[in-house]
Symmetry: C2
Subunit: 410 residues, 2 copies
């Protein structure tokens, strides 16, 4: 059908017109409730009045920024990329994404499983909740989604055809280019810099070593199409509880460098670790975070290489092209490169969250100004170090060892 914005009154008739959803709800009377936290989109829970657990999420993009209103246009085609990524994830790793029951690109609508028992991971981490299976789940998510959409797995035409499905996501890629790689490190009207760290921000604006390293990372983001990325994989894009881990909101999806999703996640874990010097002062939780960074990366690496070793034919490595020993050497250099780029992107993500628009609640939510500024300065110093020195890192342990030293110096 042609695009129209679904207000609450139109949602139920729209859903019941779709066989799979009519089947899902049967003859139950339905209730619609808008979820307040959609900044970009309208998000509703639709549930059976008599059985509230029988519920689905309905998400619709509007052709403007929802929180700002129609004066701030943002093309609603972003939902098409979210739908395509969710569908690919549903195929590749269904247990770590919400089940998509229905999607309609023309209406910019997706209808999916309601994760009633999960919370946003960032909120859990602010409360120092341990998620024992997080590193295993997300390591597998990263290994599988990155490997299976790369030319290490797909044939040549299949890879390019999948990339073609996302190459139109220019608007959201440009947002990342501006707000992760550029604006925070120069004078820019969108920056939100705590006056207490203005000295550090000003010094960074003059740091040309940092700028050179940032341009290298930005260039990779713009010009390498290793695999399908989520594109915004921070702890606010993960719904979690102690047993389950679900990735949501892949509207920034595109084909980019392997390290970008890994780096986003690692960078957000590092920021949570920094925040707990001020928040909980509970070093056991911080130790869990560092261990989780190591396990997350280790699980990613093991999973990725495991998938690679079981693949005998791909666009890149034709069956019989290279002997085992040669392939092992190629893989070792390849994985080293992913590690280093991941750490570099983690640094970029950390820096931008201290200076640019959209800080993280872990740190910006610290109430006491001096305490918050200490966390911001520490995070920024770490981010700058990672951006400048990521090519020296040889293993994920080099990153956590460095962080432990930062802690001692503090």
């Amino acid at each position: 059908m042609a695009y129209e914005i679904l207000d609450e009154s139109k949602i139920v008739p729209y859903l019941l017109n779709i066989p799979v959803l009519r089947n899902f709800f049967g003859t139950d009377r339905l209730e619609v409730r808008e979820i307040g936290d959609g900044n970009l989109n309208y998000v509703y829970i639709v549930h059976a009045m008599e059985k509230p657990e029988k519920a689905l999420i309905v998400k619709q993009a509007v052709p403007y920024l929802r929180i700002a209103g129609e004066g701030y246009p943002l093309s609603r085609e972003r939902m098409s990329y979210e739908i395509r990524a969710l569908q690919i994830y549903n195929d590749l790793i269904p247990k770590h994404v919400p089940e998509v029951l229905y999607a309609d690109e023309a209406m910019s609508v997706v209808v999916m499983q309601y994760l009633s028992d999960h919370i946003i991971m960032r909120e859990g981490m602010i409360e120092a909740v341990v998620y024992p299976d997080f590193a295993a789940h997300m390591g597998e998510f990263l290994a599988r989604t990155l490997f299976r959409t790369s030319s290490l797995c797909l044939e040549s035409a299949a890879k390019r055809q999948m990339a073609e499905m996302f190459i139109g996501n220019t608007e959201l890629c440009a947002l990342t280019e501006t707000f992760v790689f550029t604006a925070p490190y120069m004078e820019h009207e969108t920056n939100e810099i705590d006056p207490l760290i203005e000295k550090e921000a000003a010094a960074l604006r003059e740091d040309s070593d940092f700028k050179v390293a940032m341009l290298e990372l930005k260039y990779l983001f713009m010009n390498r199409s290793d695999a399908l990325l989520h594109g915004d994989l921070h702890t606010g894009s993960i719904m979690i509880n102690t047993e389950e881990t679900c990735v949501i909101d892949p509207e920034f999806a595109f084909f980019g460098p392997f390290g970008f999703d890994i780096g986003a996640l690692v960078g957000n874990l590092v920021m949570s670790w920094v925040s707990h010097f001020e928040r909980s002062k509970e070093s056991a939780y911080q130790a869990w975070i560092l261990k989780s960074i190591e396990e997350l990366y280790g699980n990613f690496e093991t999973g990725f290489l495991g998938l690679w070793d079981r693949t005998t034919q791909s666009a890149l490595v034709e069956k019989g092209f290279i002997d085992k020993e040669g392939l092992k050497r190629y893989q070792a250099a390849f994985m080293q490169n992913i590690l280093q780029e991941s750490i570099g992107f983690a640094g970029a993500k950390i820096c931008r969250r201290q200076l640019g628009i959209a800080g993280v609640a872990d740190i910006r939510g610290i109430e006491e100004p001096e305490s918050r500024a200490r966390a911001e300065k520490m995070a920024l110093a770490i981010g700058i170090y990672l951006v400048k020195n990521h090519k020296k890192m040889k293993s994920i342990g080099d990153l956590t060892d460095y962080l432990k030293e930062v802690k001692v110096q503090k």
Copy 2:
């Protein structure tokens, strides 16, 4: 109009139905002559009977391999990519491509300027013809086409939109992946190996250092989208005389690594240089080739950096992001990388021409078998060296110095 194959009888009515072409020819009586050397496509010269210099080229792709017949399907959409690349080149650097008067993607037809005074550069080089302006012309062609289609020049959305125009060219990209980067270095039915170099070919099939280096180059080809490439820029894709230089046949066009077109051209110059040890034994011509390699690369580099220095705003480098000294350092590393990748790709192109399908006439056309085999062995040894050692090269002079040493050792 819907696609149909234009036989000679249909060409004139088709052309005269198009206003710009009707204007071109006026009321002249026209003659159509098929050019025999189209392997993939049908190519005709259409000229006024009374004024043969008043002529155009009409090129149509058919949905199969023209020389092999309908039993060898090859999608005719390759012509769409050739048309799009020619149109972009007509905008960017009209003096070094044939003028496109008319193009019709639905019919897979392009109508363009007839280059009556030019010959295929490879044929000229076999005859040891010096082209004094070649290095200036092609250096500028490479600088301009690569820079102006990259994220060093374009804005983010414009770059991705242009890349989108070529991402469907999967079939021809896959041909390169197979026939440049893979098949020649393993047992493969398409290989055409001179029995006199079978020992060298067999050794290369077991050389895992070479395979690792080749996988790195292949991975770049598949996963980096620096700029619009011609995709098959050998000396057979250049129409030339002592004053003019025109690039033709960009049907392999896609967004790939900067070094690939440069490497293709340099590799073909190196093969010509090798061939003249056997062909002309005229060291002055070989000296001209080496000087041309240096000047070609130098002109490319100067031109590329000149365009960059005059660009104050791009997707990559936002105005005011970095100071001059920092940008210079970034540029130096960036250009070094292009140099090394170009030399690596040159090596791949040289190797594949010795072992795979489609050798070069410069070398395979040498009649005396021992003489031909000497040239093949020398070219192969050079190609292998460049593939394995391209990351050690610091300037184009390192390449020509290496070649001069090869000559001495011979």
